[in-house]
């Protein structure tokens, strides 16, 4: 084995062209694809930012693979359970990994996947780490954003947006404080000098029985997430793995979504192969209230999730309700089988009333308390992975997910899953596998495969079919949605890649012109994406991309062509990014989303539509080892722009580490 390993290392060192991954390129292609896919659904657009944040955090605190156990390796959340297990086995059998290119030799990994993993792993071991003196590390980040034209000129606060974040770590302790002011909000909306959004947490991590203790704001995910998952929804990429590695996780909250987090304390314990997690939270959340139906009883009319407080009504709904949540989770591993149980309860200070509901709202949650119980498993014998979870809430509505993944050979992997979410199954902090943003009212079947058709040539395809037995937003009848995607990737060398993606989306919507009983029509779009990426040198990256979209029912369509140039100037040291994008679409329906590089910990995926262009220039300068400044200027002119013909955006970021 050692000889084989040596051969691998030598051959890799001899033949590999060392690709360079500066900070800006740490967002793997797969993640940007997922982020763009998410943005197709407006309600999920914030999740893209969550993805970016998780990746940046991972790059700042990479996984030390040489000493990592399976739990630690699962922090590489874009890997499948198969890949995590294969990597764990490889490290256990062969010992120290000397170069990340060695990972390409692990079953289930390819050169491109190894490249993707590279920025997020460290080859140093714990021993080296502990030899370093314990010291306090501080990290301060500030973002300032101003847009032209301002979104809402009547808003009470300035049109600029500000984010400030402080993080520290010292040995087993770490903590963070985050504040944010959105455009149009006042910096201090109340009488006290407290910013519109303020979040803080303190984390202690251990390796014994007590693994993690968090006090303050935190996020959590248990099992497949049908009960609790405040982070990323799993299983929405059609041609990627479909199932991201599971495992219970509690983590300090560092995002800026102002409502979907817990505020209190959480503990994660582990003894042998059994783990337990307990959490308690009391958080004030935004909701609009009224007294309809019972003048003596104030009730929640609906929850406000935007986090924007720029109008009288949104200011009135700010922190209007206290939500108390607590729960307990148990996990145990029996050889290849992992079992997990969760019980949790949410209660609100005033009840949610569903008075006089429309037919669509018939199953919406009413009451003060919602309990969820889930039971799940994961079984991985050899090249087969079976997983599932069932959840019930207090209304005895259920969610059920059953999936199957198998890898008949190292070149082929296949995923299939069935999901069932009862109308009325409500989980206020859940994001289950293959759930939609509304979370319930669907029965779905999903399948995909990834096949290494030839050397450097990858073919993948996926289908996601969903049936909605009850009415839903913009559709007053039982309906279905379908997504299909075919992806062809050719990676002839470390420096060059071609990709072609053809995808289709189909859903049923109400006809706007129909009176009385609403009639529906099929809303169907097709999208073809062609991209070419090339690294002519270690300091220069070029990406050319052409997207073509068709909207079948209206006959409208759109096309975009963009060129990205990323150039690292070592002498300064600085990095410059430039993009020029030409857009021509018939209407909003034929809009096209394109990921943009942005400030660290930020994400930008503008919807491109109308006739015009969008460009940006971003410069990152690193005056010292301990600080960097990033400035982005984006501008566009388009007949279809929502804000007007000419738009501009200036973002400035400063980071200091000491």
């Amino acid at each position: 084995m050692r000889r084989m390993k040596a051969r691998v290392i030598i051959s890799v060192l001899l033949i590999s062209v060392r690709a360079v991954y500066p900070q800006e390129d740490k967002i793997p292609g797969v993640i940007t694809e997922i982020a763009e896919e998410l943005s197709e659904y407006d309600t999920d657009a914030d999740a893209a930012g969550e993805y970016a944040l998780r990746l940046f955090e991972l790059s700042e605190k990479p996984v030390r693979i040489n000493t990592a156990d399976e739990q630690e390796l699962s922090r590489l959340f874009f890997l499948t359970d198969f890949q995590v297990k294969a990597l764990t086995d490889y490290i256990r059998e062969t010992g120290t990994v000397y170069t990340v290119y060695e990972i390409a030799a692990v079953p289930g990994f390819s050169a491109s996947l190894a490249r993707m993993v590279a920025p997020f792993v460290s080859l140093t071991d714990d021993k080296q780490e502990t030899e370093k003196p314990l010291r306090l590390r501080n990290n301060i980040l500030t973002n300032f954003t101003v847009r032209h034209p301002a979104a809402d000129t009547s808003a009470p606060g300035g049109s600029w947006k500000m984010l400030a974040r402080y993080r520290f770590s010292a040995g087993q302790f770490s903590g963070n404080i985050t504040t944010e002011k959105d455009a149009g909000e006042k910096l201090f909306p109340g009488k006290k000098p407290v910013p519109d959004f303020l979040s803080a947490s303190l984390l202690w991590e251990g390796k014994g029985f007590v693994r993690k203790v968090i006090v303050g704001d935190f996020g959590a995910r248990y099992g497949l997430g049908t009960g609790i998952n405040t982070g990323l929804r799993m299983g929405f990429s059609l041609t990627q793995t479909g199932y991201l590695s599971g495992g219970d996780d509690i983590r300090p909250y560092t995002s800026t979504d102002e409502n979907l987090f817990f505020r209190g304390a959480a503990v994660q314990l582990r003894g042998g192969k059994t783990g337990m997690s307990i959490f308690w939270s009391r958080n004030r959340i935004d909701a609009s209230t009224d007294t309809t139906g019972n003048p003596e009883q104030v009730s929640i009319k609906n929850f406000q999730r935007t986090g924007l407080h720029t109008t009288a009504s949104s200011l009135a709904s700010k922190d209007a309700v206290t939500e108390t949540s607590y729960g307990i989770s148990l996990t145990t591993d029996i050889k290849s089988l992992r079992l997990n149980l969760l019980w949790s309860q949410n209660s609100f200070s005033i009840p949610v009333m569903n008075n006089d509901p429309s037919l669509r709202e018939l199953y919406d949650f009413s009451g003060r308390i919602n309990q969820i119980a889930t039971a799940g498993y994961r079984y991985m014998p050899g090249k087969l992975l079976l997983y599932g979870e069932i959840a019930f809430n207090s209304e005895k509505r259920k969610a059920f997910v059953q999936g199957l993944s198998f890898r008949p050979s190292d070149r082929l992997s296949i995923n299939m899953a069935y999901s069932h979410y009862d109308p009325g199954f409500t989980s206020f902090h859940g994001k289950g596998l293959f759930s939609s943003s509304s979370g319930d009212n669907s029965r779905g079947l999903f399948g995909n495969f990834t096949f290494e058709a030839a050397r450097h040539l990858f073919l993948s395809a996926g289908v996601d079919l969903k049936f909605h037995p009850w009415l839903k937003y913009r559709c007053s009848a039982p309906s279905y949605t379908a997504r299909r995607e075919l992806r062809l990737s050719y990676l002839p060398s470390e420096r060059m890649s071609f990709e072609a993606v053809y995808s289709q989306r189909q859903s049923m919507n109400d006809r706007s012109e129909s009176n009385g009983v609403k009639k529906q029509y099929d809303f169907k779009t097709s999208l073809l994406k062609l991209s070419f990426r090339y690294l002519p040198s270690e300091n220069l990256t070029l990406t050319t991309r052409i997207d073509r979209k068709w909207v079948i029912h209206s006959g409208s369509g759109g096309i975009t062509m963009l060129q990205d140039v990323s150039w690292r100037i070592r002498a300064l040291p600085a990095t410059v990014w430039f993009r020029h994008c030409i857009v021509r679409t018939s209407d909003w329906d034929s809009r096209i989303y394109a990921y943009e590089n942005d400030l660290v910990h930020s994400f930008s995926i503008p919807a491109l539509w109308g006739h015009g262009s969008r460009s940006y220039v971003m410069v990152s300068v690193k005056p010292s080892e301990y600080s960097d400044i990033r400035i982005k200027f984006a501008f566009g002119n388009s007949s279809g722009s929502k804000e007007g013909k000419n738009t501009g955006e200036l973002k400035i970021q400063a980071r200091v580490r000491f």
Binding site: Y534, P536, S537, L540, L542, T544, I546, I559, M561, L562, Q563, V565, F578, H580, C581, I582, V583, R584, H611, G612, S613, S615, F635, N637, K645, N646, G648
Partner: protein, 272 residues
């Protein structure tokens, strides 16, 4: 004598399909070589190509001056006259171009000062500052615009190369008048010492994508035959060139599915 109707229809078509960048088939910057190849030249070194992609300027072997006459659809009122000069420097090149389109009642003057630089063994870049002045008879005011364009050239291998060019990536708010913006990307291959092929695509804010392909074949020493296609207007192109040192003369022809044939002739004098 051509009817006023045909002239006006042609002008409408030109402005409907063209960008002021000169990269549109019916508003080329210049070059009979480029016309003959269907304007698929963003990666192909050459005297006139240096103004289609300024990153090609360092590839000019010697100082040269050239003139070009492009007669659209055989209508002299729609002709473009261009003059240019290039000066090679060590690992760099400078270029100056002047162009005049139109006639007494509708004229556009454009001038550009370009610079190209070899950034590394494989990569070169270039930039050009542009000035446009449009004059229309009657009560219409004269319009003047300033902008810039820039390009990159990358040698993928001994046989393959890549060209990227952007025109006018400038916020509209910084200028008084609207100018279109365009993006152009292409790749070229040297199949043998006699045959070169190229393909590119361009998208402009004033028109849909234009896909182009072209070839250049040298059957005998000093002589070249060219052909090409551009998807806008289903335009087929062909051309011929002959080099009689220090002079190079080229002819190019392009068809339009509705407006007929355009002719380009250019003369380049090299100062060796």
């Amino acid at each position: 004598m051509y009817s006023l109707h045909k002239i006006s229809v042609s002008v409408i078509f030109i402005f409907l399909f063209s960008s002021a960048s000169g990269s549109d088939p019916y508003f080329p910057a210049a070059g009979a070589v480029e016309t003959g190849m269907g304007w698929s030249c963003v990666m192909k070194p050459g005297f006139w190509s240096s103004f289609h992609n300024q990153a090609l300027l360092p590839f000019n072997p010697s100082a040269a001056a050239g003139i070009n006459y492009h007669n659209r659809f055989g209508i002299s009122e729609l002709a473009t006259k261009t003059a240019a000069i290039v000066v090679p420097l060590e690992n760099a090149g400078l270029g100056l171009i002047y162009s005049h389109f139109g006639y007494r009642d509708l004229a556009r003057h454009s001038a550009g000062l370009a610079c190209g630089l070899r950034l590394s063994e494989k990569i070169s870049g270039g930039i050009q500052a542009d000035f446009f002045a449009e004059k229309t008879a009657g009560e219409y005011r004269e319009r003047r615009s300033l902008s810039f364009e820039a390009g990159l050239h990358i040698r993928l291998s001994e046989q393959a190369s890549l060209g990227i060019h952007v025109f006018n990536p400038v916020p509209e708010t910084l200028r008084h008048d609207r100018l279109p913006s365009s993006l152009r990307v292409g790749a070229g291959l040297i199949l043998s010492s006699e045959l070169k092929v190229s393909a590119e695509t361009e998208m402009s804010t004033e028109g849909g994508p234009d896909i182009r392909a072209g070839f250049e074949y040298d059957p005998v020493r000093n002589m070249s035959l060219r052909g090409g296609f551009s998807s806008t207007g289903n335009c087929f192109c062909f051309g011929v060139g002959y080099e009689l040192k220090p002079v190079q003369i080229d002819l190019g022809f392009s068809t339009h599915d509705r407006l007929g044939i355009s002719t380009a002739v250019s003369l380049i004098f090299s100062f060796r």
